[in-house]
Symmetry: C5
């Protein structure tokens, strides 16, 4: 009744995959992550400033870079559960074997690596399920070459639908491969803003509730929030560094024009990082609020006990006195003794209540 919102949680990824792999020779291609049977779809997009063409292909063999009327090619692979497809792509584009391993390892930390002919990014996209309050991270990788972009996603839903739609509408038509890479990263960074906003709202609501009536569920919520913010920070920190390199370094694959956009993206990641740190700070403060609200509640319980006890224990003593069986107790024989005793007890009680009120206990 007090707090029926579902608990915050993170979809846990086990390191199982990695430790299973620990017996294998280095360089084996294995999908490390949640198993699923959804099919892997390959989307093949070609475009230039004039036009746009996109199709689903079944095999990497259908891809012909450098051919056709469109100079820029974008291959998007949805789903990592078929390592053989990744291997085929790797062979076709001459990608290093260790890089393919990184693409398949959904537990890999975000990074950017510059090779001779291409730049490799591996990032975490975030998905926050508002209904289950569950945070899910998705491994997302890109390869930016001279005139192509390869993108790999862990989950079957395409996070770049919006980009495809806008391309189809004829927007963005005048751009090169590096701008596409920027656009893909922009989608990832935006996913962090969505999560952050949901978390900040959650913290605000929790704070209100904890002040009102602290229950152990709140502490669970605070501890979960802490875990989620750690995951966020773990993801945003290397992402920020990766984008920083893109903005600063004289990367040959990225034009001066696009660098300006990467600078803007960098500002966003700095902002997100700061907000995460602040949220961590506020969340840590919530724990203290919780503990002191508990203390407060206990103080009140103790006050009630003390008030009841200090009023009735003396009264009980008084009635005990006149329950004694001494032969000679003159008061017992007074005519109005019983009434006097009631009056005396009434006066005592009023006096105590006055003292309590004066001590601000009531």
């Amino acid at each position: 009744m007090v707090n029926v919102r579902p608990h915050l949680s993170i979809r846990r990824k086990t390191h199982r995959g990695i430790s299973q792999k620990s017996g294998l020779p280095p360089g084996s291609l294995i999908h490390i992550g949640q198993e699923n049977d959804s099919p892997v779809t390959i989307t093949y997009v070609r475009y230039d400033q004039e036009g746009f063409e996109h199709q689903k292909v079944d095999s990497v063999k259908e891809i012909q870079i450098g051919e056709g009327k469109y100079p820029v090619h974008w291959i998007n692979v949805d789903g990592l559960n078929k390592p053989e497809i990744i291997e085929e792509v790797g062979e076709k584009f001459g990608l290093h074997h260790l890089m393919l391993e990184d693409i398949l390892n959904t537990d890999h930390i975000p990074k950017v690596e510059e090779f001779q002919d291409y730049i490799f990014f591996t990032l975490k996209a975030l998905h926050f399920n508002q209904i289950d309050m569950e945070l899910d991270t998705e491994q997302v990788s890109f390869v930016l070459g001279r005139n192509y972009v390869l993108s790999f996603q862990e989950r079957p839903e395409n996070v770049y639908e919006g980009i495809l739609k806008r391309m189809a509408e004829g927007k963005y038509k005048n751009r090169e491969a590096d701008f596409l890479a920027y656009r893909l990263m922009d989608v990832i960074v935006d996913s962090y803003y969505d999560v952050l906003e949901a978390l900040e709202e959650n913290i605000d609501i929790s704070e209100e509730e904890v002040f009102k009536s602290p229950i152990p569920e709140h502490l669970k919520n605070i501890q979960s929030m802490k875990r989620i913010l750690l995951v966020l920070r773990k993801s945003i920190f290397p992402l920020r560094e990766a984008i920083n390199q893109m903005q600063k370094r004289d990367v040959s694959l990225i034009s001066n024009d696009t660098v300006q956009y990467f600078k803007d993206l960098y500002d966003h990641t700095v902002h997100i990082y700061e907000e995460i740190e602040n949220a961590r700070d506020i969340n840590a403060g919530l724990k203290d609020v919780y503990l002191s609200s508990l203390s407060n509640k206990m103080n009140k319980v103790m006050q009630v006990l003390t008030i009841i006890s200090t009023i009735f224990i003396p009264l009980s003593f008084v009635v005990g006195v006149y329950g004694m069986n001494f032969d000679h107790m003159p008061e017992l024989h007074w005519k109005y003794g019983y009434y006097y005793i009631w009056i005396g007890m009434f006066v005592m009680t009023v006096g105590q209540l006055a003292i309590f009120r004066w001590k601000k206990w009531l």
Copy 2:
């Protein structure tokens, strides 16, 4: 009755704007911030060492840089809710599109960026409402060109009124555009001192009160103060870095003479930063004071309970004894048994009170 001061609070800015924008193509000009309908006013100031001229203009078209008898031009735009005006200014002065976005995004972090022909600053001015105890941040941007300064403010009130007035009075007459930029930033930095002073006063008062009688409101106040100081730090840190660049770098648009003033400004920001850190430290200490004051209060309640109980429970036992109905209880038949018992109980009580006093409980 105890603490009727209104609570500290921050006017919350939602990230809504940003996440709304997350579906849009990069580069769209949208005002991100609180909606309001107040008109956008453009103030056009021209001056040199000799004279000064200022007017309100309706459209950017009336601005003619490089013309007229005054060499230095200052265009101040109050209000960001008409992106088309910002766009017009951008076109007129050849500003980068992403920079215009930053001007309009009131959630943007402070930064300075140097371009070929101009320097771009975006900062946060602070306003602290003493009556509502509410902190409000305002997005403020400048563009410093060779012989012009553009300034953009989020809110309709002109924070530079003082500068205009002093110009009109003939002070500052012998200066260039870079000195005007310094003066604008000086106004912003001064707004931090005002807020800081209000906060430090608030912390001092809170400390006094918490020592006297801790109530949950105090904890709320401490948590709010924590949030406000985080906002302050988030704002001052990049501001300090921005001014640091102005003071150090061999920025062509800033003369050696003005650099000295920027150095002075830098010292101020360092000072503010330190004061914020100290205030954070003191505020964190307040939380401990609060918690231990609670503990103290509870200790006192417990002592009262213990004193009452330890005095009356044994007495009740004694009167219980003489309430028993044994056939053979010699004391009951003593002539002064009843009086003896009163004397015994009196002695017992005095003894206990003496022990309590000796144990420093009373």
Copy 3:
């Protein structure tokens, strides 16, 4: 009954060895660590891209570097309790005397040192006993020369069995000495993943339990976890730095091809380091959860006491009143006085229970 899992613990290594040594002249070869009598085994492996040969040798004299048909030689020494064997190896390969001391000092911090003709690594392998919940660190050293690798292990079990097996199976056949060094380090790094996974699982289970019913054992567990994570961090930090040097520096003994593998290894160590930091953070949070769960439990106990007391203390007063022996107490003589009093007490009790329910204490 509540928590029968054995406690986490670390096999303590005393510094005794080192302080015993403190009286000796610098440069004395002494095994610092746990004494054991297990024999020292020397495995001598020779291989090239084509074939593989391995044997157990009794003395270092049987080793002939640069001879035989296989160019790459690997000598693995299992057990450090015979310093004279280490000394022999040192003489044969011209190793510095201080380096031999480091190999024998199982309390040495991990490091990498580059000499003229060889690189020296000393690392910690981790072993986590799932049954006893005991973490054990093992001192592991390598020397990578132009065409040989020397490896030294503290314990008699060979941690490189897997590598030997795979070599025998004909995998890895096309590699040089530097790749073998990489493979040895990879085995060490994998041992960290195993330990980390066991710890994270332990933290998760503890969190669940602490929320349910906090017992002092949990606090012991949290404190032990803290110690273990400190040991882990102390080990991984210099390991990460060592691998970082291998990946960055223009180390002549490591080919460009192998550098790529060291880069991959570096990513793993960064990941492990981050996970350790997060685990530390979560573990520190557990302590707060424990303390507040204790508080909660106490709150409940206090509530029960308060409810019982506030219900029965007034009732006892009432029955005390009618136990008084005044001559004139009209109620005592009413026909239904006794029943009236029961009704009155029943009403009082129901009223109090209603108040408690309204105050959410029941």
Copy 4:
């Protein structure tokens, strides 16, 4: 009675001055600090290796640098409440206007700035009033030129009396202006040692007392100490950096000989900084000691309550039983029933006390 030492406190300086100034044009000379009417005294000292001459002068006009038989001139200004005097000095020595502002702003952070012909230092001298336990900071500035030193002090008492006296006694006679600057700074640094010693003594006494009997006054003291140590750190940190620059940089105005003395001074500031950090750490620990002493005290109170209650509540029950009025209660009619009951209660009580002693509650 428990703690009659006066409370630690800091003489608060308001930022009022600065915010008052916030409406003024930059560059206005205003004394920011505590108002006082004490006269400003100017001491004019001239000396060389042979002799020494000193006089009080009324106006800066009497100062004639480069004239007279003594090459080195020292002008000391005591009191900042007459900005016009500072302005005159500034004009005479060609000092930058912003520097004069810094001299007058007693809230300015310590710094060192090197100009073409002189070096400017602004520092904080500390005064600790042992009787009122009040810390007071004083703004102290120097200008070191080729053959002169200017010194400015906030308060009318001359902190350099000792130097003057020693000069008069003929010590220090063989030195240049840079050595005088060192001597002035040495006096300032020594003032930190005095304060530090008083604080450490205060912490030690507090620790003793808190262990004995914690009272809320102690917490106030801890919180005050925290504030004072923050002020100290804020002052010593830039002072250390300033002296560090003097020791390292190839400052033309400071001879190699004097650099050695600045190195020594630098060591002192490093030492002070460390002591402050340690004192902060110890002070923070005191808070925990205080809180746990409170807990301990409460534990004892609770034990007393528990012991009294657990002894007397069962006894009261027993006497209640024999106060019942059943017609058939055989024990009541036993000849020695009353004595038996006393024996029974005595045995019960002794048994309980034995249990308490066994549980270590007594």
Copy 5:
């Protein structure tokens, strides 16, 4: 009875010395530290690869560097309470006056300083008295020249006895002055291991005890440990930096051969520093263990109180009921009423105990 180990403590050194000195001219030679009257002994050792000669000398005048058949000379001064001896040494070897001051100031922070012809080290040796549990720091300084080493110790006991003995035994015979300096520092570093081991053992024992039964003495112990670890860290940090400079810098007085030994020493100091940091962390955790053990203990006390109260308060009510004096109370006249009431109370008590057991309170 619970913890009879003596308390950890630090032999306090007052800053008195320094502040006394604060009135003196800079450069005065005064022994700052504990006063004692023990005589100052000067040991004069000459040796080369072949032989060794050592004698006690009364005056520095007997020392003749560069003469005699042994090229390397070592002068060891035990005791600092005769500044005139230090001054004589200083004159003989041409040492800077400020350096002599540092040797005599036992409160000086450790440092290394390189001069033209010699290197100056000032360090802290640690002595831990196992019986009194008292940590004592000793000021130890060296001067390493081309063919001599000067060493100064605060206390009359010679910490280098072991080195002298080993020299006399003919070990170490083939070394130069720089190797002697290394050996002296090695003795100092070893003294840290001894202290560290004693502290870690103390922490382990404390942890055991605190879990069993927390008493205020433990908190005192934790606070003392904190102070000691701060002293240790303050000493080891600059020592580590000093050795680091010796290992890295191209110091002309130290041969390449000896540099390797300094590297080894550096590793030891890094190790010690880490162990100190870990011990600090574990010690900080102990405080939480202490506080929660206190809470636990209180919880148990409260439970006992609650159990006794909740059992006997209702029973007392029941017997109170039948102690009432109503004329019409049918139960009083039942034949077995008294026995029925006992049965009823027995059933009530058993029921309550069952509830307590079910709630896990017993």
